[in-house]
């Protein structure tokens, strides 16, 4: 295995007195797609917040290209090439669809993704570019959230619960475009509660339970029993 693109090293995370993560170690290699699965409250979103800098940690607890980034602010982490599609879409409600996308690209990293390319990926957004982001359906909002993350031309993209709250048909169409996106040589982390969906696109899987990694393995080698045990702790 080559050197990891992103690693966490004994990552602990706290919200005040409450400890949400306990010694989490994960590795993501260049070009790899991994899934992080786990029940509600297992610490998946906390892990994403720690990686992106929304939650400050000790510098060496998160390394990116062998550089400690654990203590960087979120805007500094974004500049290194990590983008996130946050849980619940989290679009800017005062901004139009197009402005939401432009905000994603304003850190100015070079790469293939720009407005027109996002519009080619999601043509409906081009049609609705001038409307407020709140006027879109949930699925269209998710497209904006994905496009917004792509606009920064990240090397690593984190998808936090992309299927949460969306109709199955929308989820299916979003998972259909994922390979196109990731095919650009990007690495990706997919956080999911839907295990089957996660396994279908990810090469490796980490399962979390109560703030710890309870299982790690290649998607095609893990059995349902192993995953159930790691997921539910039974």
């Amino acid at each position: 295995m080559p050197e990891a693109l992103l690693s966490t090293h004994g990552l602990n995370a706290h919200y005040g007195d409450f400890q949400a993560l306990f010694g989490v170690d994960i590795n993501i290699h260049a070009g790899e797609v991994i899934a992080i699965i786990g029940a509600n409250g297992a610490g998946k979103t906390t892990l994403m917040r720690s990686i992106t800098g929304l939650l400050a940690n000790r510098p060496d607890m998160v390394t990116y290209r062998n550089t400690p980034i654990g203590a960087l602010r979120a805007d500094q982490v974004a500049r290194t090439g990590i983008a996130m599609v946050p849980e619940g879409r989290q679009l800017f409600q005062s901004l139009s669809v197009e402005e939401n996308l432009i905000i994603g690209g304003q850190i100015g990293r070079k790469g293939p993704w720009e407005l027109e390319k996002v519009f080619r990926l999601f043509p409906i957004l081009k049609e609705r570019r001038a409307v407020p982001s709140t006027a879109l359906s949930g699925g269209q909002q998710q497209m904006v959230a994905i496009g917004r993350a792509l606009m920064s031309n990240p090397e690593l993209i984190l998808f936090d619960e992309i299927s949460l709250g969306l109709a199955p048909i929308i989820i299916k169409s979003i998972y259909e475009v994922l390979p196109d996106i990731i095919g650009e040589g990007m690495s990706a982390v997919i956080v999911e509660q839907d295990i089957a969906k996660a396994l279908s696109v990810a090469g490796r899987v980490y399962c979390m339970q109560e703030g710890r990694i309870s299982l790690e393995g290649r998607s095609n080698e893990l059995t349902r029993e192993q995953i159930s045990a790691a997921y539910f702790g039974v």
């Binding site: 929304l54 979120a74 974004a78 989290q90 005062s94 432009i102 905000i103 994603g104």
Partner: protein, 287 residues
């Protein structure tokens, strides 16, 4: 005829009130911060202009070139150094800190400039007037100031809704964490918002110092006018703030026309009436 004159003068005065209010409205919109020291910064800007004009011997209107950038720098440094530390879920700390700043500025100015009323003289333009049909006379200087106010509001409107800076303001205002994920450092964006706010305060201060006499104690009164203009117009709407300023100015002048002692009272009554009839202001934008 006196009444029409009172209304026209009130409209022109309203432009100045809109300038008082615009910066207040801007920072509330971006970071939900209510700057209690806003009026004192207006007075500080007026004294800065006074010192500049007496040191350089230039027309007070020219001091804008110095006062506006100096106020902007003060705004940025103040935000990064002090006010950012007070922002959070609790709205009380920024209120207390800016209240403290208000006391500090007033007493600082009192120490340096004494309590004597000051006024700046802008020369011949102060007495120049335009004769309008119907025996109306409108001062050139108030007219110029009104024009500048409209231009400032239009400029702020453009910045807020059409520029990259405004996009950043709106994004950070909507969702601070997510904006940070997009590479916007909210501490810096807030600093820029306060710089812009105090730049407008700089213009307001210079105009105030030319129009009327001022002393270190009048800041809180200007803050009230600014608040009233913002609330009358509706939160988050800059053109609404302009109209709020005009309503306030016109009410004050009509009050003064009835009885000189009623000037301020009439303004406050107009404010209370709007608050009673439309509690969210005439043209609210922020929900």
């Amino acid at each position: 005829m006196e009444w029409i004159n009172a209304i026209v003068q009130g409209v022109l005065l309203g432009g100045l009130y809109a300038l008082f209010a615009a910066g207040l409205s801007l920072i509330f919109g971006v970071m939900r911060l209510v700057n209690i020291a806003h009026g004192d910064f207006i007075v500080l800007a007026a004294f800065l202009a006074l010192s500049t004009t007496s040191a350089l011997g230039v027309n007070p209107l020219l001091t804008l070139v110095i006062v506006v950038p100096v106020m902007a720098v003060i705004g940025y440094v103040l935000q990064r150094g002090v006010l950012n530390q007070t922002l959070g879920d609790d709205i009380l700390p920024p209120l207390l800190v800016t209240f403290g700043l208000s006391v500090i500025i007033q007493n600082g100015l009192l120490e340096i400039y004494s309590a004597d009323p000051q006024k700046m003289n802008a020369g011949a333009i102060e007495t120049a007037s335009l004769a309008l049909p119907g025996n109306l006379n409108v001062g050139v200087l108030p007219l110029v100031m009104f024009g500048v106010s409209v231009a400032v509001i239009a400029g702020l409107q453009w910045v807020f809704y059409r520029s990259a800076l405004g996009r950043a303001f709106r994004a950070v205002s909507d969702k601070q964490d997510i904006a940070q994920l997009m590479g916007l450092n909210k501490a810096h964006v807030f600093g820029l918002a306060m710089a812009l706010s105090l730049a407008v305060v700089g213009i307001a201060g210079v105009f105030l110092g030319i129009r009327t006499s001022f002393d270190p104690s009048i800041g809180p009164g200007r803050l009230i006018f600014g608040f009233e203009a913002v609330i009358i117009g509706g939160l988050g709407n800059l053109w609404g703030t302009m109209i709020g300023g005009i309503i306030l100015g016109v009410s004050q002048n009509i009050g003064a026309q009835i009885n000189p002692g009623w000037q301020l009272l009439a303004g406050h009554i107009a404010f209370l009436i709007v608050l009673a009839v439309k509690p969210r202001g005439l043209f609210p934008r922020i929900d």
